[in-house]
Symmetry: C2
Subunit: 317 residues, 2 copies
């Protein structure tokens, strides 16, 4: 690829579509976002993307010929041919993202991958996992997403489900169902709603004093803040989050044994109090050879998706 050519990285989310215009060396030149129109089963999303890209390209004094590639991360399983199989947040069933975007833009060099995998790629390229090529990223937010990179490349999976770490089963005894229909998934413990769910359960089952009892609505951040202040109920919940995550990541290590785990998403804002506990539980449970896996917090925040999507266009397969 010529260094003068530009790259577009797109992070397609359920609320916003984020865009980044990069130079050929991966420097972010400009970023913008538009709302995601999820009405009518998201039928306008891809044409909205096409319009926004061509408008900005023109405004930047460029044409499509000045682009080396367009990369896009989507919130669902992506098959090898760039087909997406069900994105609940977008209202999509089966959508040929790559093919349709090629038609809409008249541009061929389009790369599609799952958003969590793409975020991992972004962190490897320009963030917390720089210098590594075997990376596992876990994103703790409304759900729990995961991305696996082996030899610098995304593990997409045969059915687009590579890195679905949120649905690793970590409990035999869970009685409530996960959003996926199973019981005992990591997501039920380490997502923001999972943390709130556990806190409410603890508050209902015990009479202990807790700052959380004064809140009308409890958020995951409230729980982590209270844990930091020594609140015993909140600390118990924090330990359970860390134990669930440590157990799941120990199982991930028994499969791909990465160099580094990168933890991102809103829940990661809890910081060291969470990180210390996750590593402690991980080391207790992991196979001895993998005791020394590195841990780091994600560094790119909301930009991981556009960085990773841009990097996607530089992958050779």
């Amino acid at each position: 690829m010529s260094k003068e050519k530009s790259i577009i990285g797109i992070d397609l989310g359920g609320t916003f579509i984020k865009f980044g215009l990069f130079d050929g060396e991966g420097n972010l030149k400009e970023k913008w976002q538009i709302r995601t129109r999820t009405e009518s089963n998201g039928k306008w999303i891809l044409s909205d993307i096409g319009v926004s890209v061509s408008e900005r390209i023109r405004a930047a004094g460029l044409t499509m010929d000045d682009l080396a590639g367009i990369g896009i991360g989507v919130p669902g399983p992506v098959l090898k041919d760039g087909t997406v199989n069900r994105c609940i947040n977008l209202g999509w069933g089966v959508v040929q993202v790559k093919e349709e975007l090629q038609k809409i833009t008249g541009f061929r060099n389009i790369f599609v991958a799952n958003d969590s995998n793409v975020a991992a790629l972004g962190e490897m390229w320009k963030g917390a996992a720089k210098g590594h090529s075997n990376v596992v990223m876990v994103t703790l937010g409304t759900g729990v997403g995961g991305g696996i990179l082996i030899n610098g490349k995304i593990v997409h999976g045969a059915f687009g489900a590579g890195g679905e770490i949120g649905h690793i089963n970590i409990s035999e005894s869970e009685t409530e169902p996960c959003s996926c229909g199973n019981r005992g998934c990591l997501e039920q413990y380490a997502s923001a709603p999972g943390i709130v769910r556990m806190a409410k359960k603890e508050l209902a089952e015990s009479n202990r004093v807790s700052a959380l009892r004064d809140k009308q609505f409890i958020t995951a951040a409230d729980v982590m803040d209270a844990a930091g202040n020594g609140d015993s109920i909140a600390r118990g919940v924090k330990e359970n989050v860390a134990k669930a995550l440590g157990r799941a990541l120990a199982n991930v290590a028994a499969v791909v044994d990465p160099e580094i785990f990168v933890i991102g998403g809103g829940v990661a804002n809890a910081g060291d109090i969470l990180m210390e506990a996750v590593q402690r539980h991980y080391r207790q449970m992991v196979f001895h050879a993998s005791q020394d896996t590195e841990f780091a917090f994600a560094q790119l925040g909301n930009d991981a998706g556009i960085y990773g999507a841009a990097r996607l266009t530089l992958c050779k397969d």
Copy 2:
């Protein structure tokens, strides 16, 4: 590589060292084995290998110059530089297998990998996973070994622990320790000794009639045979083996989402009765996208190791 050149594949086990002489297209021309001398911390093993290779090469009318490569699978974690970190079965601590074998044989093109990973490579090349490039193999024997192939290449892992499927944690409630020191590893349920352990426990805890009560020594094969004959205690144990394996493989799928699972090792001789139950439990527990992963029994038996070791010499990294 010239097609006329030959390849040596070596499977280094705790009792025997197996050798295969292959032509450049992977046809097995000759195989032989020698005993593994584990005395004196296995210090003779590599020189025994060197002697055996050069003797056979000469006997076949070849010289070392006629070899394209030598591949070897070893029963322990292997780092990128071909160093092995602790092989309990061989009495080894840290051994520079690649470097030492290069010195002993005077031959440079030597490739070293973990034996379970190598067996997976063999099954992909010439066995049950032919035509696939994203493969997970699990070997149920004295222990539970695993091998992961992504895009046709072994996932060695940062600490040589890629594919340590036997040490995926699948039970929170286990009280007995695994050989690795943890509690609740797959190996405690799906290895031959694990099956015998569960059967003895069931027999002790219940008064139900069982053909297993007549045996002085129970083997895993006895348990599976009795399960096939409708013995209710043995059937319960078989369901527990299958549930443990189904659960662990569902977790593996949430990480690498392979095209196919290959099941090998002595326990796999139980055949369809085990396979049906494993797939049933897998489908109940796996993330919905990966419902249709293929399952197959290994086809190369004890030769998987020499085939995979030969194939290792053809890998580009």
